[in-house]
């Protein structure tokens, strides 16, 4: 570095850290875009659901409420796990943070697995993507959510590996924070979709 440049560098005023980091803004933009995409799907579902005199249509199976309620509990149980991972990372406990993220990934995988088994049962009962607006709206809406859960699980596994390698510690937890935010979004979205599709 030349002498004038070095002098300018030393004279540069200290810039305070922004109150919202670029990573947080980027994650907020992603989540806003995802919410609008799901809003479109929910709007289409509402259109089909509200104009139907009988729901589910005649000859179509009812959606499995009991096992899906249990599945909801499994997904919600992953929230304390990921919160614990974040608290452990802030306390400098790398092993606890990796364990919490891995536990959340396992619970998320269990959620997708149970849902996949239920889908196979529904298909065997005659409810497929081509079963009119009932099957189409159900599989597209719930399938999009399942796809997001899978992406979040992959995110969790990457972050868990990063934590084990030392990429997340008591001073730097941005990847784990962003993963936690995305996981909250996925769980919160399910808490909207479950009553709308299964209970309403």
């Amino acid at each position: 570095m030349s002498a004038p440049a070095a002098a300018m560098a030393t004279r540069r005023p200290e810039i305070p850290a922004p109150f919202v980091s670029n990573t947080q803004l980027a994650m907020a933009a992603v989540i806003v875009a995802e919410v609008m995409m799901f809003a479109g799907l929910v709007g289409a579902y509402l259109l089909f659901r509200l104009q139907a005199a009988v729901w589910p249509p005649a000859g179509m199976p009812r959606l499995p409420l009991g096992i899906t309620a249990v599945n909801t509990v499994v997904l919600v149980a992953s929230v304390p796990a990921i919160r614990g991972a974040l608290h452990a990372a802030r306390a400098g406990d790398r092993e606890g943070a990796a364990r919490g993220a891995a536990l959340a990934a396992v619970l998320g995988s269990l959620f997708v697995l149970i849902q996949g088994v239920e889908w196979l049962r529904l298909v065997s009962h005659g409810l497929s993507l081509g079963s009119g607006v009932y099957g189409g709206s159900f599989y597209v809406l719930i399938g999009c959510h399942a796809l997001h859960v899978l992406v979040a699980i992959a995110f969790l596994l990457v972050v868990a590996a990063l934590v084990r390698r030392g990429g997340v510690d008591s001073r730097r937890q941005t990847p784990l924070e962003m993963c936690t935010t995305y996981w909250y979004f996925v769980v919160g979205l399910w808490l909207v979709l479950f009553p709308l599709v299964y209970l309403y």
Binding site: F19, A39, G43, L46
Partner: protein, 100 residues
């Protein structure tokens, strides 16, 4: 500054005046294809209202989040005021970098 506010108010008023006759119009496809007593009409209206409200709900949520983050970020040092040509006369000495 008062000129800017006055221009803004006049522009808003001028843009609203010719719009009064357009309030009763709607989408040609939706308006003509749905009968008044059709259950699809209520479903369409509910769906439209839901989709209409979502961007505002998101805007309020993100705006509230940013506001709370800003409020909880504590006192922040303000940047120095740059003296522009039309504010240079009013700028106090030492309040910011001078151009000359």
């Amino acid at each position: 500054m008062s000129h800017v506010v006055a221009s803004f108010v006049v522009a808003i008023a001028a843009s609203l005046l010719p719009a009064t006759r357009a309030f009763a119009q709607g989408c040609a496809m939706c308006g003509n294809s749905l009968a008044p007593n059709d259950p699809a009409t209520g479903a369409m209206n509910a769906s439209i209202v839901f989709l209409l409200l979502m961007p505002y709900a998101l805007l309020a949520t993100v705006g509230g989040w940013l506001y709370l983050r800003y409020r909880h970020s504590g006192p922040r040092p303000r940047g120095s005021v740059i003296a522009l040509p039309w504010t240079r006369a009013a700028a106090r000495p030492g309040s910011g970098p001078q151009e000359d």
